[in-house]
């Protein structure tokens, strides 16, 4: 099969996972004005919790979808808790909030190492999606196609949520002008908790359904966080379309970079970021410079 086509499918798959990760990151950034540095950890914690359910607790095994839902809910609750108990105590002090998320990410990384050990854990691909799908003369791995479909569904659902519902309108108002949103009676601080939990849950979900492709290992958080940062620098903060386009771009650059220049894969990410920073510092779809 054609190498380029395989690479392209892998890139879109990876871009889909990145979108799930960075959509929440971008929304939290847009609303709370802070880069949530625990986002990589949430991805990793979600993957670890999910894989624990998949491999089974006391012999009781779950299928990956149920495990993903449980992991998502757990991590969303953890995220809401962290926002309520810690970030809430530092209102308006964005620097302190960023530093708290940084400290939390170290604690999470070490706790995961303590609980799950240092060896990578591979997540079994669900049996119903193990094979290949042939479309015409082309053959695709089924699980990767499934991830693409899931990411597309989530993108559509998030767009509907933000564009068509009352909650979405409130979030958009908060992103555009938090002070004015407060004046017209929107409880912005409640939105903070909701958006933080939503972002945490999405990151955890991406972590577990990405498990069969990426495996779960210590340091996964540090691999994913810079990618989410680059996506948001490229796409612009608080913009769903921005994180979508940014994710697909980073997915392509990262995968093609790894195939063609394996030693410099991380470095080639730097080039589009450089161009965007020089020509359009607010990002491709962002409205204001962070």
């Amino acid at each position: 099969m054609n190498l380029w086509l395989v690479l392209a499918v892998n890139s879109i798959t990876f871009g889909g996972l990145l979108f799930l990760l960075s959509a929440g990151f971008s929304l939290i950034f847009g609303l709370m004005r802070i880069p949530n540095l625990t986002h990589g950890s949430l991805f990793m914690v979600g993957a670890y919790i999910g894989v624990t359910f998949v491999l089974g607790i006391r012999g009781f095994q779950m299928n990956i979808w149920l495990a993903a839902i449980l992991a998502t809910l757990t991590v969303a609750a953890l995220g809401a808790l962290a926002e309520r108990l810690l970030l809430r105590r530092l209102p308006g002090d964005q620097l302190a909030q960023v530093l708290v998320t940084l400290g939390l990410s170290f604690m999470a990384a070490d706790l995961c190492l303590m609980i799950w050990g240092g060896d990578p854990i591979s997540v079994p691909t669900p049996a119903e999606l193990e094979g290949f799908v042939s479309i015409g003369v082309l053959v695709f791995p089924a699980y990767r196609l499934a991830i693409i479909v899931i990411a597309a569904v989530f993108a559509a659902a998030l767009w509907l949520l933000l564009d068509r519902t009352r909650l979405g309108a409130m979030i958009r108002a908060g992103v555009d002008d938090p002070d004015m949103a407060r004046v017209v009676g929107i409880r912005v601080s409640q939105l903070f908790t909701i958006v933080f939990a939503l972002g945490a849950g999405l990151a955890a979900f991406a972590g577990i359904i990405g498990g069969p492709i990426l495996t779960v290992y210590p340091g996964l958080d540090q691999d994913m966080l810079p990618l989410a940062l680059v996506v948001v620098i490229l796409g612009g903060t608080g913009s769903l379309l921005g994180s979508f386009v940014g994710s697909i771009m980073v997915g392509f650059i990262y995968n093609f970079g790894q195939a063609l220049l394996p030693e410099l894969a991380y470095f080639v990410l730097f080039l589009p970021m450089l161009l965007v920073l020089l020509l359009r510092p607010q990002g491709l779809f962002g409205r204001h410079v962070p």
Binding site: R33, I34, P35, L37, L86, R89, L90, D93, Q94, L95, A96, V98, L99, V100, L102, G103, L104, S105, F106, M107, A108, A109, D110, L111, M114, Q222, L225, P226, L229, V230, V232, I233, P262, E263, L264, A265, Y266, F267, L269, F270, M273, L274, L277, L278, P281, V289, P290
Partner: protein, 327 residues
């Protein structure tokens, strides 16, 4: 004023005699570590404290210098040339780093520096033909300036001390200079500074270069101290560690970063003897300091001391001094 001079003389005497009053060479080595990390923290403090620009990628720059020194030595250059080339490479990297990250300020600056730091880490980790990947680079020898071999623990300590005192003196001059005042102006009121005719961007850029210079100096000391450099040195945890030194001691103060460096190095050395979970403790201290004592230990202790003084002594002189200090 006289108490200040007395304290200074006492501190110098203490620092100058470290190899004679600590219990063994192990502790002299810890003292050397504190001193070169203090230079690193002073360097970051120029940005995080005086310019209001929190960089989370400084370990990346630190690593660039360390790798450049190691690589030049591997190519067979002598120590002075290797150090000079490493400094040159670091200054060029710093200029690029500054030009990119100064596209933003505040949170945006944090985000860009974090991404740049991680990219440098990724390079060190993956570009195996240049950096040796996870195996890192080894340095075979330490230099011998003026016939003193730095392989000796005490000589290394004194060399580090001299460079540290020189860096501290430079910092003191910098803080009191018109440039230092202008930099603090761009931190507090960038728009007014702009209106007054200052070139805010250029001031910040020069501050970045000064910070980068101190960072590279400490990195050269570091790489000669450990005689080894691996990607771990560039990791986000390393950037956070030095930021913790600055913040825990007190950002924007002269002595704070030095106290912070001492605290972090001692805790890290002592604790890692007992438990492996240094990162967990690092994270906990970080969260605790940010929430409980956001201004840092040095200003925080001064504040508590004044408060206690007023409560217990209750002398009117202390009250007026406190009232004076307030605004």
């Amino acid at each position: 004023m006289t108490t200040r001079i007395l304290a200074l003389v006492a501190a110098l005497a203490l620092l100058g005699t470290v190899p004679y009053w600590v219990p063994g060479i192990y502790y002299t080595n810890v003292a050397s570590q504190i001193l070169f990390y203090a230079i690193f923290a002073l360097g970051l403090n120029v940005l995080a404290g005086y310019a209001g620009l929190v960089s989370l990628g400084h370990a990346g720059l630190f690593g660039v210098t360390a790798y450049a020194t190691g690589y030049m030595l591997q190519l067979g250059f002598g120590h002075p040339i290797a150090i000079l080339i490493a400094l040159l490479i670091s200054m060029i990297s710093m200029a690029i780093y500054a030009a990119l990250s100064l596209r933003a300020t505040g949170i945006g600056f944090i985000m860009i520096t974090l991404a740049l730091g991680e990219i440098l880490w990724g390079l060190a980790y993956r570009w195996i033909s240049l950096t040796g990947g996870d195996n890192g680079l080894n340095l075979k020898t330490r230099p011998e300036p003026f016939g003193y071999s730095l392989s000796d623990v005490n000589t290394f300590y004194y060399a580090t001390l001299i460079i540290f005192l020189f860096s501290l003196a430079t910092m003191t001059v910098f803080v009191r200079s018109p440039f230092g005042a202008a930099l603090m102006g761009t931190r507090d009121q960038p728009r007014r500074m702009n209106a007054l005719g200052y070139h805010v961007w250029a001031i910040r850029f020069y501050a970045c270069m000064f910070s980068g210079l101190l960072t590279s100096v400490s990195a050269i000391l570091f790489v000669y101290y450990t005689q080894f450099i691996s990607p771990q040195t560039l990791a986000l945890t390393a950037s956070a560690e030095v930021l913790l030194m600055v913040i825990s001691g007190g950002a924007g103060t002269l002595l704070g970063p030095i106290v912070g460096a001492g605290l972090v190095v001692v805790v890290k050395t002592v604790v890692s003897g007992f438990i492996e979970r240094w990162n967990f403790l690092l994270g906990t201290i970080f969260v605790a300091i940010v929430i409980l004592m956001p201004e840092g230990l040095v200003p925080g202790t001064v504040r508590l001391w004044r408060l206690a003084w007023r409560k217990f002594a209750g002398s009117p002189r202390a009250m007026t001094r406190d009232a004076e200090a307030k605004p």
